[in-house]
Amino acid sequence: MTEFNPTILAFCCNWCSYAGADLAGVSRLQMPPNVHVIRVMCSASVKPEYVFKALSEGIDGVLVLGCHIGDCHYLTGNHRTAKRFPLAQKILNDVGIDERRLKLDWVSAAEGEKFQTVITDFVSQIKQLGPNPLREVRF
């Protein structure tokens, strides 16, 4: 039995969290290679549908990263993000999927280190939770 190597999807907003990820790169901050970033303009453009889709198709965890509240390049964009995803978490919990497989966090363009911590912690979190049970479920 080889060690569980989770596949994780991350949505990063162009202005803060993606820039933060770049900064982490430029600063050569090392982190586990399980996270695959999709760049969007704003965390508020991430449809919860994407998260549900990804998880029910077997992705082990989904990260949504945006600007800090107040820093949003689009004024109050991330306010909606902050409303949607906690609810999405609850819904996951209601059908029996561990809500910790979805994480919402804020990373600014200046926070390379924070990006590293968020990624590292989330990956170890998911490793703890083990493979997404839905991988095995065949509908």
Binding site: L23, V26, S27, R28
Partner: protein, 433 residues
Amino acid sequence: MKEKVVVVGGGIAGIQAALDLGDMGFEVHLVEKTPSIGGHMAQLDKTFPTNDCSLCILSPKMIMCADHANITIHTYSEIESISGKFPKFKVKIKEKARYIDLSRCTGCGDCAVKCPVKVPSEYEEGLAKRKAIYIPFPQAVPRKVTIDAANCRMITQKKCGVCKKVCQAGAIDFDQKDKFVDIDASAIVIATGFEMMDMSQVPQFGYGVCKDVVTSLQFERILSASGPTGGHLVRPSDGTEPKNLAFIQCVGSRDAKTHVYCSSVCCMYATKESILAGEHAPNIKTTIFYMDMRAVGKNFQEFVIRAKRNYGVRYVQSRPAKVQPAKEGKGAFVSYEQKGSGGDVASEEFDMVVLCPALVPSASSAQLSQSIGLKLDPDGFLATPDFQNPVDSNMKGIIVCGFSSTPMDIPDSVTQASSAAARVADLISGGAC
């Protein structure tokens, strides 16, 4: 009919000035004496205080210049003469013969592979060899080869000509002559930048005597992934990784005997290079000998603190008197006065010593001042007498920016380049009154 502006110097300041002027709708002619634009910034591995990869941020701007509808780049070219005065300058540009038909050369480099002549590479600060026919560095703009006539056997001795044989594009032209281009320019921007001081002026620091004493720019190349050591931190004498490293600040600068002024950037690039050294060799012990740690820019202090905290860099406030060879020509002894010990002189051995020499105005600015009467300041930089317009030279319509006017770092040079663009536009539009 667009007004023409000539920008002299293809370093970061010249590039930015050209881009801004081009965007403002002027017809820009960017003149660079070497075969590629990019200047010293292209030689740097990283830039402080973010440690951005230097070429990664520079190369898009270089290519933007090449692509820009309003910008014509004249590389391997020099200003032959400037006559007339604002707003009607006559600028004669000498496009030195590079013995290459640029329209044909694909920059494949086959010729360079076959060329038998090896000479020290300027881009690698003499730490590596290049051929007599060469492309200075991978991201060069234009990415075309150049034959340096002084070293080419075909040109000097009429024998060889291998390059012509191997060139499938038929781009080699040994009969090429210098070409002159005349431009009626409304204004001229001078961004001739800096060069390293003549190290023979400071023999006490053992440069040229001890193999393992290098200049900061050489060290920058040693650190660079694309550099002569393939990004491995090794010392010249025996190719081993240095265990302890010394930086000596203010070599030949802040010194009445050589250059009185402060070069402004050395404290920070030394700090940067010490951090990079720490990343290459986690256990390396680095010492920086300094007079005043001039970390005055945005996040510079934090950068120095990071060097101390995360990379254990040791900052010693003392000015070393001399550097002497150590045994077997490896490493060197640095002797300096210890603070708080009644002036005892200590002598400490280092595997490698990096000198941070004075950065002096490039020779071109002196030539220009002679040929067209630009005033120089007491330190040899182009004078900017009008305090209200810090980029105006003593001659109306001739604007200076970047290091050629006074020592400054990259952001300040970029800013001044934009100021220069503004001044050009102001003068040409006739000013407020």
